[in-house]
Symmetry: C2
Subunit: 365 residues, 2 copies
């Protein structure tokens, strides 16, 4: 039986609570002999800052580098609003993405049939929705230099961020997009602002070339990022895989997630390039939602996004697609029986706790 070594980084807010339920799921798969998981737990984000003055320590970075996969909860909260920019909770997450080379961020936006009515959109617009936002995660304005605030001679300040993309960065994310599309509905929509940004011009050229030369069988369309945001609201089912840069991906994936009414249910995977000798990819799995400090510690959080992130780890890091299907099915079944945490419960109806939801999914498994 294969043994996998996982680093758990619960983080802040509701992170520790939902990670607790994810652990329960891992244990179940271990006990059933499907695979054995060794886990280690460490601090990240505000919790790490409180302990060592950094959003992630060098020791933890080393653990992350050695792990077969990282499970990440969520970071941040008003408690750390005043900490120095370089030590803010988000810096821990950004460093993990960058230093592990996790350039491909998969954000599925799926509307669970049982939850279609929780969406602010009309049922027919979102029912059955299953699209995937593929976000470039280690480039663009998130990491480009210069990134600074300088004081000018007249006393004013000037802030600069740099949007930067090179050919190979776009090529590799484009290939992931086309590969994913082949396993789905065979369509890639590439979103940029080529009418305003030079990075959009290059993005468009490179994606077009990769599509033509390597994936002539996959349908490719180009859409301006602002129009894409609109179209997501108007009729999201026109899409299959949307590929875009780091910043557009940040926004478009949040819009897509919110459409589904299932924000508390959506996982994400961040993958690196396969190692040339072992074929292994570095990987990190995290819920799309944030740390929700307002409900932290009260057993109100929905653990499904975190549990579904375990599912993505099974599928993309450990080659356990069947186990992942089993888990996804269990989640859908539990939802179909009407079990709801507070975020997805109808007004006035009973909601279960974080732990009860975790237990219900275990039972269904």
């Amino acid at each position: 039986m294969a043994s996998h070594n996982l680093l758990l980084l619960p983080g802040d807010g509701i992170g520790p609570e939902i990670m607790g339920e994810a652990k329960g799921i891992l244990n179940w798969f271990g006990k059933r002999g499907i695979a054995s998981f060794e886990t280690e737990t460490a601090l990240v984000g505000g919790a790490s800052y409180d302990a060592c003055g950094k959003a992630i320590s060098e020791d933890t970075m080393k653990l992350a580098d050695q792990a077969d996969a990282v499970l990440f909860g969520a970071v941040g909260g008003p408690k750390w609003d005043g900490v120095p920019y370089d030590a803010r909770p988000e810096a821990g997450l950004l460093r993990l993405r960058k230093d592990l080379g996790l350039f491909a961020n998969l954000r599925p936006a799926i509307c669970y049939p049982a939850l279609a009515d929780a969406s602010s959109l009309k049922r027919d617009v979102v029912e059955g929705l299953d699209i995937l936002i593929l976000r470039e995660l280690t480039g663009g304005v998130y990491f480009g230099e210069p990134k600074e605030i300088v004081t000018l001679e007249n006393g004013e300040k000037r802030a600069v961020d740099t949007q930067l993309y090179t050919t190979h960065e776009i090529e590799r994310i484009a290939r992931v997009a086309f590969d994913l599309a082949r396993t789905r509905r065979n369509k890639v929509s590439s979103a940029e602002k080529r009418n305003v940004m030079k990075s959009g011009v290059l993005w468009n050229q490179v994606v077009t070339k990769i599509g033509k030369e390597e994936y002539p069988d996959v349908q490719l369309e180009h859409v301006l990022a602002d129009n894409c945001a609109m179209q997501l609201v108007r009729w999201p089912k026109q899409y299959d895989v949307i590929v875009c840069d780091n910043l557009f991906g940040d926004i478009l994936s949040d819009v897509a997630a919110m459409l589904t009414g299932s924000l508390g249910m959506l996982p994400s995977a961040s993958l690196g390039a396969p190692d040339p000798t072992t074929g292994q990819r570095k990987s990190l799995y995290e819920p799309v939602h944030g740390s929700a400090p307002d409900i932290a510690g009260r057993s109100l959080a929905n653990p499904i996004a975190m549990i579904a992130s375990v599912g993505m780890a099974l599928r993309y890091s450990f080659g356990l697609g069947e186990a992942a299907d089993l888990l996804d099915k269990a989640i859908a079944n539990v939802l179909a029986t009407g079990t709801r945490t507070k975020d997805i419960a109808e007004k006035g109806s009973n909601a279960v706790s974080t732990q009860e939801m975790g237990a219900a999914i275990l039972k269904e498994l």
Copy 2:
């Protein structure tokens, strides 16, 4: 009777058709003796490129500079996909914004009661919606330098765009936001990505300072741009005025517009700083929608966004608030009687032409 001098730039696609209807409205106000309008018409975008190889000519820039206000239709279309970057249709619009100093872009997102069902969102989420996206329009990644594609030694290309903001650019747009909020529901939401971008950090600081020192009576909140996009989809009525940078404004205003189901109805105003001696502002008014090349020349376009842009010109450039109210009312009344162009007609029901819609509004006036 005051005389105002307007430059009409119909542009491409449906631009000329909808501009025709806007002209009819101006004529009506002229004939009724409410004000006299002198108009001149010139080319912009693809139409200008075809005529002179540039997206806007120097002569037209001079006319725009001398006009009391510019009415702009829409630019672009597949016909010009291959033209050089600097001559692409959008370059004409971007030059107008930049050279006229139109830093404040007002994009109201209003849900016309008669059209609430045209939205992809549930009626209760959008009915009565009336929010305003205030977009900074002359700074940020749209205009920052360097903005280029260079070829590296290894043959790869590298594209760079520069997001750049200085204190005074943020101060002046913040003041517009707070001033507008005072005439509305007294709340400003400032959207940025301070957790990732230095420009977001500075934006946040400057808006906070202006709010505290100059507008303590206006409620101010800060929201991350990705979360703002989400919240717009979830419950847009929580907002009044949203102020943000050029690129976030591009996307957020499109999301907001699409929520209302009234995209073909939404106008926008782009304003410069008041002239220190005359108090006059440069200004440009344009629909939020694009040039819709697919329906151009077929009398199918909805002229309401263009006509409502005339209303904004009356209000913001000519001090004719009552005339603007009259026009807005006429539009709402015509919609209430069920008159619809194709874009907002229910499936199977009759739709009127561009010209019939213009005539109906004139008649209602």
